[in-house]
Amino acid sequence: MTPDNDRQSPRWVDAHLHLLDRQVLDVHGVPIAVVDDLELSDIPAGQEIPRDAPAPTITALLSGPTLATRIFGGRPPKSRMLSTPWVAVREVGVVIKLSVGRDTRDLSWTERWVRDHVIGHIPGGRHTPKGEESDQAQSNDRGGGDS
């Protein structure tokens, strides 16, 4: 077994170890998903790969209903998986931080749908509670707001 010499400058991440099952936070630090799978750029499946073929890259983080398939096997259909483009990833660490807000991602569509179609029809459901507004105003009066 030869030592792995050419691993100097880039950072190394292993899919299982560093990416799968990690929580994804949007630009505001709000959790929006967990990484269930990774989409790779084209790999010629079933064909011989030329020796000088460029290595595939990660193109998207995939999230979806994977609990049942983890227990019973198989994979959820691709149409059920929601993707976040890899270019939106800002940082990979204990969590994966994005450079976009959750409202721009399909991942939170259920939450937005419930907000618009259910919560929004409840009296008082379309504005911030008054208590929070007055708390914020008092905080600003005392000079406690961000300056």
Binding site: M1, W12, V13, D14, A15, H16, L38, E39, V89
Partner: protein, 106 residues
Amino acid sequence: MIITELLSARVYGPDFLGFVSDVRFSLDTESVGLPARLYGIIVSPHARSSSLGFERSGLRSPWPIAALVRWRHRGSFLVRWADIERIDVNRIQLRPGFECASPELP
């Protein structure tokens, strides 16, 4: 292709070598968008499951789990992308004369 199609796939050289236990990427932190290129696959001769990183770092504790996982994944090795000849459903064929590298993370 998605990564779970590669994980647990059977790896063949001249003969059966093992299963893909993980896939390693190089993350270019200097470039915009953090491009992550597939660097290689980690092949475990005995187990399909993840090794939780025990064989890729100096972790030795908790020792019963570390010892068990390291034993299950004994003989694991890294094969670079350039040494992969063909990827089929649940099967990866390596090129003749492929090189095995240490799976340890720097």
